[in-house]
């Protein structure tokens, strides 16, 4: 037993060494680079808020991207989660395609979707909205379908005795009890999307991330500091707001 444990530790150590090599971990480079970064931090003070209205406009774009993307994602997820929940899926033939579709949507990050849609719809937040919506649809549908699958079977069975249609059964016997969890998932996804939308600007999808990229490219550190503070404030406010609403739902 001890030899087996030792062997497992050894294997784990080898695995992590291999991973560190692939990821090019280099403590020396970090030690050399950190003071340089410290210098940038010093040069970033005081933050440059001279174009504060412009930063607010860009933050607004980010909030719009996350909010619209999450909302459209939830709308897409609504039918998808029904097809992908084993206990309410209309038939076996639709379950696996639905499951595969939501895995595909979830597997591709909104960042990658946005990158692809910048080609289709051009630069700007619209591509970001589509990216966030598609990725969120997969994430929300998966979490919603799991919530539906773990809902109590009793009320559904009792309602099914009336021979009512599937849509009536789901709406009557599952949704009322599952709604707080479903809403909580959607709100959490919105929170997450707000944080992830801040980097969508890096692929040209607009928002505060676009400003951040421009400022970093120009080595304009006071402006970078101002943008980071705006991002931090925005994310904190939305996190608090969402957490409060989620708490009240449960």
């Amino acid at each position: 037993m001890r030899t087996r444990t030792l062997l497992l530790w050894l294997l784990a150590a080898l695995l992590y060494l291999g991973l560190a090599r692939i990821a090019e971990l280099d403590l020396h480079r970090l030690l050399v680079g950190l003071p340089k970064m410290g210098g940038w931090v010093l040069r970033a003070w005081p933050p440059d808020f001279s174009e504060f209205p412009q930063l607010l406009r860009r933050a607004g774009e980010t909030i719009a991207m996350a909010t619209l993307g999450s909302t459209f994602g939830a709308i897409l997820a609504a039918p998808l989660c029904i097809f992908a929940a084993r206990n309410v899926s209309p038939d076996g033939w639709i379950y696996w395609p639905a499951r595969s579709l939501l895995n595909l949507l979830r597997g591709i990050d909104s960042f990658v979707f946005a990158l692809l849609f910048v080609v289709a719809v051009g630069l700007g937040p619209f591509a970001g909205v589509i990216g966030v919506a598609l990725h969120s649809a997969g994430t929300i549908a998966k979490l919603w379908s799991e919530t539906i699958e773990t809902s109590e079977p009793g009320p559904l069975e009792a309602a099914a005795m009336t021979a009512a249609s599937r849509i009536k059964l789901i709406s009557f016997a599952i949704l009322p009890d599952a709604l707080p969890s479903l809403a909580s998932i959607a709100l959490y996804t919105w929170e997450f999307n707000l944080r992830s939308s801040t980097v969508l600007g890096l692929v040209g999808a607009g928002g505060i991330g676009q400003e951040l990229k421009n400022a970093v490219d120009l080595l304009d550190f006071p402006r970078v500091a101002a943008i980071l503070l705006v991002i931090l404030t925005m994310v904190t406010i939305i996190d608090q707001l969402s957490a409060r609403v989620r708490r009240s739902l449960l």
């Binding site: 009793g154 009320p155 009336t162 059964l169 009557f172």
Partner: protein
């Protein structure tokens, strides 16, 4: 009236029911007794066709429903009100909404989605709630009602469904003696007043005496014998 003949059902390799036969006529209350795991609930679920029996036949008001499928099965099932041990109410809905659940098939989809219940169905649900003594609790959320009240709501749901056969699974096992007695009295009254055919699973002999016209013991998958009940109880 519901008639089951020689119902057999094997679950996880164990023959839970071997040749269970039972007839429940309109207005009659038949108690099903037997130790835990003897197959009482399995028999009720087979009768409601929620489980497929491996053998045997089930007749509902003279119609053989053993092999019905699809729409025909759903239609037949509407005539069976199943009342569960755990009530199976939608916890966050009001008592009235839960009772309206028995009317789902009659109510248009858009009204169910928007919870805009038709006045006629609301009246039926309110009458059902009144009959089980919960008229004043209509607006209360199901999970805020006591166990006995939840059981009454579940019975009201079956009433609103318009079923003529009631299959009731251990309705009083989790209730205090006083509440249990009132639930059993209600079941008895409903059978007598409205002519329901009631098959109810029970554990305690005193409960059987209180409610049943006849009692059958399920043992080793077979309904073996009839238990003696006091005179005046209409022994079968």
């Amino acid at each position: 009236m519901i008639v089951a003949r020689n119902i057999a059902k094997t679950l996880s390799g164990r023959a839970v029911l071997r040749a269970a036969s039972v007839t429940v006529k309109a207005g009659e209350v038949v108690a099903l007794v037997g130790p835990s795991g003897s197959g009482k609930t399995t028999l009720l679920r087979c009768l409601a066709r929620l489980l497929e029996p491996d053998a045997g036949t089930i007749e509902l008001h003279g119609l053989d429903v053993t092999h019905l499928a699809g729409r025909k099965l759903y239609r037949a099932r509407r005539d069976i009100g199943l009342v569960y041990q755990q009530f199976n109410l939608v916890r966050r809905l009001s008592a009235l909404d839960n009772v309206l659940g028995g009317r789902l098939n009659e109510i248009p989809t858009w009204r169910v989605l928007t919870r805009n219940w038709p006045a006629n169905d609301v009246a039926i649900a309110q009458a059902a709630l009144a009959r089980v003594g919960l008229a004043t609790h209509a607006a209360q959320r199901a999970d805020r009602l006591s166990g006995g009240q939840q059981q009454r709501v579940a019975i009201a749901r079956a009433l609103a469904q318009g079923s003529r056969v009631l299959l009731i699974d251990e309705p009083v096992s989790s209730l205090d003696p006083e509440t249990a007695a009132s639930i059993l009295r209600l079941i008895r009254e409903l059978a007598s007043e409205r002519g329901f055919a009631v098959l109810v699973t029970l554990h305690r002999p005193e409960d059987v005496v209180r409610v049943a016209d006849r009692a059958l013991r399920l043992q080793d998958g077979v309904l073996r014998d009839r238990l003696p009940l006091p005179a005046g109880r209409g022994l079968g």
